[in-house]
């Protein structure tokens, strides 16, 4: 709803401002994306990770079209500043996510940076990377007190039901 002066008040604007300007923002995100394709798991500030996520998934979408595609090759050439990652993108990452429509990346928040700036950080990774998982597997142990009590309760209830059915 345009109720106020367009230039001065930024209610409802969703575009993030990173770096020194739009060109600087693209350059910063390009560097982060190159690092992500090389290392498959990186830690940056939360805002940057959120921005790069969109570009990372779009790059995979372009790579899925195949490396003979003119547009895909141009995109990969622009976005990856280190050119030894272009074959990796087309042969490893595109193949890995062949059958998935979306959801190639995972972003998780981590505690604030230890520096003076205490910046809010996030870790961004491509799914299926060879590194240890960020989220530990949930293991349900039967030896907890609570689980033992519940087990005993279920057994008693089963016994009661058997007794009732007899009569």
């Amino acid at each position: 709803m345009r109720l106020t002066l367009r230039a001065l008040i930024s209610h409802g604007r969703v575009a993030r401002r990173i770096g020194l300007g739009p060109e600087s923002r693209i350059n910063i995100l390009r560097n982060i994306l190159t690092g992500l394709v090389r290392h498959e798991r990186i830690e940056t500030t939360r805002a940057r990770a959120d921005e790069v996520r969109f570009y990372a998934e779009k790059l995979i979408d372009y790579a899925k079209k195949g490396d003979t595609n003119e547009k895909s090759m141009k995109m990969a050439d622009f976005w990856l500043t280190e050119k030894d990652l272009i074959p990796k993108l087309f042969k490893v990452l595109a193949v890995r996510f062949e059958n998935q429509r979306d959801g190639c990346t995972r972003m998780a928040r981590i505690p604030n940076r230890e520096n003076l700036d205490r910046a809010s950080m996030a870790v961004l990774e491509y799914k299926g990377n060879p590194f240890p998982p960020l989220f530990p597997m949930k293991r349900v142990s039967e030896l907890n007190l609570l689980n033992q009590l519940l087990k005993a309760y279920r057994e008693e209830k089963a016994q009661m039901n058997v007794k009732l059915h007899r009569f």
Binding site: D84, A108, R109, P132
Partner: protein, 188 residues
């Protein structure tokens, strides 16, 4: 009758806008006088008139004096200053109202793995540190295997620990070996 001209405004004073306009007016008048004197035209009354009392040109300046003094002094009174001392009650109200106090966090919980405290929407710092250190060791091994920079291979990788053999699915992959037994939190 001598009229002593008080010209004691050698102190610098702040030029407010409303003080600036009379100043400009006065400076223009002074310029005019100086030009007239240079031309030989000393006085501004008719040439054949008798020179009357000396008040006439000097009352010009005395008016200027009276106008400039109040405007100089008034300009100090136009700056903001507190009128009264803020009492300790008012100070306490301002310093202790909730928007200045540090907010209590209600989103702290315990990590089920290690028992340290963590924020709800964030990864546990201790568990993530473990994962980070192991990732760094794996990356060191990768850099040794690759040799130099910009040598990323176009194949998948898999990490194998001591006494582990590559399985069927790991046939075409690059194998990264680590010289320790598999950590219990890395089951893949």
């Amino acid at each position: 009758m001598l009229h002593v001209k008080l010209n004691g405004h050698k102190t610098p004073h702040i030029m407010s806008l409303s003080g600036l306009l009379p100043f400009l007016g006065r400076s223009l008048q002074r310029l005019e006088l100086r030009l007239a004197q240079a031309a030989g035209f000393d006085s501004f009354y008719p040439a054949l008139a008798v020179s009357g009392p000396q008040i006439l040109p000097q009352s010009h300046h005395s008016n200027n004096e009276e106008n400039s003094e109040p405007s100089f002094l008034d300009s100090i009174f136009w700056m903001a200053a507190p009128k009264k001392r803020r009492t300790i009650e008012v100070n306490r109200c301002r310093r202790r109202n909730p928007n200045k106090l540090i907010k209590v966090k209600h989103n702290i919980e315990l990590c089920p793995e290690c028992g340290n405290m963590k924020l709800k929407h964030t990864l546990c710092g201790f568990c993530f540190e473990k994962v980070r250190k192991e990732t760094a060791m794996i990356r060191k091994q990768i850099s040794i295997m690759e040799g130099g920079p910009l040598n990323a291979p176009a194949v998948e990788s898999v990490v194998l620990y001591e006494n582990e053999n590559p399985s069927e699915a790991d046939k075409d992959k690059r194998i990264i070996e680590r010289n320790r037994k598999r950590p219990y939190w890395f089951n893949m």
